[in-house]
Amino acid sequence: MESSDAELVGRTLAGDTAAYAELVRRYRRAALARALAVLGDSNEAEDVAQDSFVQAYDQLATCRDPSRFGAWMLTIAHRSALNRARSIRRRRAVSMETAAAESGAYGTAVNQGSDTLDRVELQEKLMRALGQLSPVQREVVLLADLEDWSHAEIAEKTGVSVAMSRRHLSDARRKLRAVLSSMRLVRDREETP
């Protein structure tokens, strides 16, 4: 039977790092989605998500309700992502949304790995489209459509109400389709002689 978050936290505090590894596996994707929603860059998001898990480990004793480790951990990830976004903006001296609006640069730094050119192009388009959403819409659509979370889970872990989660998801999907459609139209026009 799968151990609960509270049991894993208890075992971690007792010195069992394997228990913490299980917590990392459980919330890795959600932490990445939360960081990606703020940063729009998968390399930065991965960096921040890793840092957040290490930070959560250091502060684990302060987690008042170990059964809600997930929500607590994702708050750390969100805050870390916001701090990273601020320092990135200071370095670049231009907001990410402004950069996206001006040059479509949001999310062009994707983790390419061994991806083909087509997939890289699709990733960049998706990230640019996500850049057109508000941060909370991005977060909800990533958690719902990428992580397959229910609205109840999204509400529990992010503090957004179930009703607003539904609303944000619907709005996000509509906007994404519209933006992706317009990108296809632009591409089709460019390709048409």
């Binding site: 971690t12 505090l13 010195g15 790092t17 913490y20 590894a21 990392v24 596996r25 890795r28 994707r29 990445l32 990606l36 998968s42 991965e46 998500a49 890793q50 898990f53 290490v54 480990y57 250091d58 502060q59 684990l60 004793a61 302060t62 994707v110 983790n111 790995g113 061994s114 991806d115 997939r119 699709l122 990733q123 998706l126 990230m127 659509v141 990533l142 719902a144 459509d145 990428l146 539904r166 609303r167 619907s170 996000a172 999907r173 509509r174 994404l176 389709r177």
Partner: protein, 111 residues
């Protein structure tokens, strides 16, 4: 329950192109990265045990509410006391009878 949105908005958007696990080794790499740092650190320090921690946390909210009420009551009482001190204490003070007509004034000669 109708929420006024078009049916098409209920369909998922395909975000698989940005799935963090599109690279099969990504999950293992992430976990290895975190655990290498975690295992190099001391175990998280447990907070000192307080056998009454549950009770204290239950009492916290009512204690805070009581403290606020006491502070407000003390403030109101203080304002009232200051107002009372500044207000005239007697009818004589209230209507401003000149001092020479006060009872302890020296009577005029011949009376």
């Amino acid at each position: 329950m109708s929420d006024g949105y078009r049916n098409g908005d209920d369909e998922r958007v395909d975000l698989s192109a940005i799935d963090p696990d599109r690279d099969p080794a990504a999950a293992a790499r992430f976990l290895t990265g975190v655990m290498a740092r975690v295992e190099a650190r001391p175990a998280p320090a447990a907070l000192p045990g307080d056998p009454l921690v549950g009770i204290w946390s239950m009492l916290r909210a009512p204690a805070l509410a009581a403290g606020i009420l006491i502070a407000v009551a003390a403030g109101v009482a203080g304002v009232r006391m200051n107002t009372r001190r500044a207000a005239p204490q007697t009818i004589v003070q209230a209507i401003g009878v000149p001092a020479e007509f006060l009872a302890d004034a020296t009577p005029a000669e011949g009376r």
